[in-house]
């Protein structure tokens, strides 16, 4: 599936982020962007997996085309989500963009070893944060060919 050939359907993005401030900034930056998208926000790893497996109150949700994943979260952290997604035959093709505060080499290596599709360190500065989200949006929603479900 390519965004411009998506028949006008929005790109479904699952945002896994426990910080309300970061989530709102991310969602506002994506909503203002060029490509029509719909963001589904969950606040921890357990909710992320329930969403992806369409369990309970997530029974009718769409399958995401892209996952934006924080690593430091309560209950189930991002590494665990990443590992579960990338080991699941039905979910592993969904690109996972890790977006997290750490720029520690150990964390970067661990994420890529778990098959994160890419790793972006969240800038502390708000304007740079918005710019990073817009760069992710530009690349992953207009350049990359996202896989069909």
């Amino acid at each position: 599936m390519h965004p411009t050939m998506n028949g006008g359907k929005p790109i479904e993005i699952l945002l896994v982020e426990d910080s309300t401030e970061d989530a709102e900034l991310t969602m506002n930056s994506l909503t203002d962007g060029r490509v029509r998208n719909r963001i589904h926000w969950v606040e921890d790893g357990e909710e992320a997996m329930a969403f992806l497996h369409r369990r309970g109150r997530y029974a009718g949700v769409p399958r995401p085309d892209l996952i934006l994943l924080d690593l430091n979260m309560p209950r189930k952290n991002g590494y665990e989500v990443l590992a579960e997604v990338k080991e699941d035959q039905g979910l592993k093709r969904i690109p996972v963009v890790v977006m997290t505060t750490s720029n520690d080499e150990k964390h970067i290596l661990k994420a890529y070893d778990l098959h994160a599709n890419c790793y972006v360190t969240k800038p502390v500065d708000m304007d740079k944060f918005i710019e990073a989200v817009r760069s992710i949006e530009e690349f992953w929603l207009t350049v990359v060919h996202l896989p069909a479900a």
């Binding site: 690109p95 290596l109 360190t121 760069s135 992710i136 690349f139 990359v144």
Partner: protein, 91 residues
């Protein structure tokens, strides 16, 4: 296979002689040292099955090669911009 000496990304076509891109991708992503190296599949293959297969083999991303040269250059610039200036790459 030795680990590349510096922060590397691979641009990989799928249609290659002798060993095709899927085989290269599969071998890299199963190798404990190479699996972390980002692989950008840049291909003229236009079947959805090919893209899905590449993602299932853990390609980091897949990009369609434009036929037009100017558009091709622009796409490569965008890949460079994102992977060299936005994303973190493993050492």
């Amino acid at each position: 296979m030795k680990r590349p000496p510096c922060r590397t990304i691979i641009l990989l076509d799928l249609h290659l002689p002798r060993k095709n891109g899927f085989e290269v991708l599969g071998e890299m992503k199963q190798d404990p040292d190479l699996r972390r190296v980002p692989v950008v599949v840049l291909t003229s293959a236009d079947s959805e099955k090919a893209f899905v297969a590449a993602y299932d083999l853990h390609a980091n991303c897949c990009v369609s090669k434009p036929a037009d040269q100017d558009e091709y250059r622009l796409v490569v610039k965008k890949i460079e911009r994102f992977w060299l200036h936005v994303a973190q790459r493993p050492r």
